[in-house]
Amino acid sequence: MKGNAIKYEQDNIDTDVILPGTYLKLHDYAELAKHAMEGIDPDFHSKVKDGDYIVAGRNFGCGSSREHAPIALSHSGIKAVLALSFARIFYRNAVDGAFLLPIEIDEDAYKSISNGDQLEINIEKNTVKNLTKNKEYKMKPFSELIGKIIAAGGLFKYKP
């Protein structure tokens, strides 16, 4: 899985900036995608490409339980968010609906990755390769439950 990094160098990127409340009335995913990250980066929709990754700091996705947040990112083309840590509800929403991969990285990886770097994620080996900088980082392995849900392709496809 290869893609380019869109980096936001900050902690606490909340669900209200990922998808502002006023759009929670929308049901059309393509419409939701047009407003992804609007609260923090109004140009996001015009610059995001299919297969891109978001890189951010601690507590990504804090706040509301709205599943519209990972849906909007997913339908914008975002395949994974790489962050120092995640808020729990966002994390589960991302995995349950198989919208995107929430990947926990360490400080070194976070500092090393620049906006626009091409990354390659390998969840079997738990590695993130930075093809632009020719570096390799470790990602935190998924827990057993999360790994199984991801492998199955979502909560409802997972049969223990």
Partner: protein, 471 residues
């Protein structure tokens, strides 16, 4: 082995647990609202599934409902579709709904306890992060996303990893409990432990200062557990809890038997151990006001807006975050909090919209007028709260002071309905999140208690409510 309250509730709800597989937890009550449920019902239909326990599922509409005159049609057509969709879903799947015309309609976390749906020792979920509110009754209550809503509708269970117990001891006696409220306590806690201080945990709030609080005040505390990143927050039930729930619409008939059982089981054993512990002394805390764009960016009303370097204590990321927050909030470091002028006041939300909140705020307002520069509104948490307030003539106090007196709903807490801030407007708000754009694009939110919001409405700027006569 000695156990914490959380562990006891968890264990009594485990359907499947083994070393090699994650837990399946039984859910006693599922609360549903119009925003996070449509997709879940749609998927049930597509997969030809039924709702497993419609009798344990209760719905209302709160997030996008208008708070203006309800005899008029809803102007926003997209909102109306969402509301009609919930009506149809509840009809099709046999779920009890308190709709926009119901006397029981209101914010889902306000009506749950008011109707006696929330009970000690139960598990409660809702597609809303502030479900933690119900923990005030000694329930294990947490927010879930729409996929999990679907899972609970279909199976009445949830799959999750067991969180760790986190003890927050709240000690000391507040000097002026009318001025130093539950909101000030929880804002102080989040200010100290941070927005991810509770990640992966269930907080148990304990200590004399928690026992001192009324049930509604405990709800305010548990409500904001999520703002510290916790899965849930809870308080062990006591006589106040049992008295509050007695004789409500859905209170079980064998209530006294249940109370005896709860008294025997629902407490943390004296030598149980917590994964984490934090102690706060509330005897000297001041009224709290948020200055930034997350609920940990909070200071005393007697303080000045912090300098980013001071706030960050050497942490470069924190410094940048504070600089960005001050820029968004259009605040200058060093400005006294009491010199910050406001444009709007919002008294409402699942954090602070219950009858006690309105009674306390009305004491500040009685016989005074909202500053001519300020537009202020009260949005009661439920139609039951509204009716009760009107029976006490609180609506007259607010209206005489030029507050708008509205119908119940989430309203300006999250800016989904027409109640929003205009870009650049500054609001003293009793809600729970001061995120960028939360109350409307470009809006600036300061989180405060109801009495602090009321005082700011009168003066047009923040004031130390301890200086006002609250009796």
């Amino acid at each position: 082995m000695p156990q914490t309250l959380f562990e006891k509730i968890w264990d009594s709800h485990v359907v499947v647990e083994s070393d090699n597989s994650p837990s399946i937890i039984y859910i006693d009550r599922h609360l549903v609202h119009e925003v996070t449920s449509p997709q879940a019902f749609e998927e049930l239909r597509l997969n030809k599934r039924r709702v497993r326990r419609p009798d344990l599922t209760i719905a209302t509409m709160d997030h996008n409902v208008p708070t203006s005159n309800r005899s008029l049609p809803i102007v926003d057509q997209i909102s109306e579709i969402q509301i009609k969709t919930l009506e149809k879903n509840c009809q099709d799947f046999g779920i009890q709904l308190f709709d926009i015309q119901s006397p029981y309609q209101g914010i889902v976390h306000v009506i749950g306890p008011q109707l006696g749906i929330t009970l000690p020792g139960t598990t409660i979920v809702c597609g809303d992060s502030h479900t933690s509110t119900h923990g005030a009754f000694g329930a294990l209550a947490f927010g879930i996303g729409t996929s999990e809503v679907e899972h609970v509708l279909a199976t009445q269970t949830i799959r999750m990893e067991k969180p760790k117990p986190f003890e927050i001891k709240v000690v000391g006696k507040r000097k002026n409990p009318h001025a130093i409220t539950a909101k000030d306590i929880i804002l102080s806690i989040i200010r100290h432990i941070g927005t991810n201080g509770g990640t992966g945990t269930v907080i148990e709030y304990r200590g004399e200062a928690i026992s001192d609080l009324s049930m509604e005040q405990r709800m305010t505390i548990c409500n904001m557990s999520i703002e510290a990143g916790a899965r849930a927050g809870l308080v062990a039930p006591d006589k106040k809890t049992f008295d509050y729930l007695r004789g409500r619409k859905f209170t079980p008939k064998n209530y006294d038997d249940l109370v005896s059982q709860w008294q025997e089981t629902l407490y943390t054993d004296s030598n149980a151990s917590f994964a984490k512990s934090f102690t706060i002394d509330v005897s000297n805390i001041a009224p709290q006001v948020s200055w930034g764009t997350n609920p940990a960016m909070v200071c005393d009303v007697t303080d000045s807006v912090p300098f980013p370097e001071e706030y960050a204590k050497g942490n470069e990321d924190q410094k940048k975050a504070a600089e960005k927050a001050l820029q968004y909030m259009n605040l200058k470091a060093g400005t006294k909090m009491t010199e910050i002028e406001i444009d709007r006041v919002f008294i409402g939300s699942c954090t602070n919209s219950r009858i006690e909140d309105l009674i306390e705020a009305s004491k500040v307002i009685k016989g005074k007028n909202v500053s001519s520069k300020v537009r202020a509104m009260v949005v009661p948490g439920s139609q039951m709260v509204k009716k009760q307030a009107e029976e006490m003539d609180l609506d007259k106090i607010f209206k005489d002071a030029n507050f708008e007196w509205r119908e119940s709903g989430c309203s300006m807490c999250l800016g989904m309905n027409p109640d929003i801030l205009a870009p650049g407007e500054r609001c003293a708000s009793t809600s729970n999140r001061n995120f960028e754009g939360r109350q409307g694009t470009g809006g600036r939110t300061h989180l405060v208690s109801p009495v602090m919001a009321a005082a700011a409405a009168i003066k047009g700027h923040f004031v130390d409510v301890r200086e006002m006569d609250l009796n």
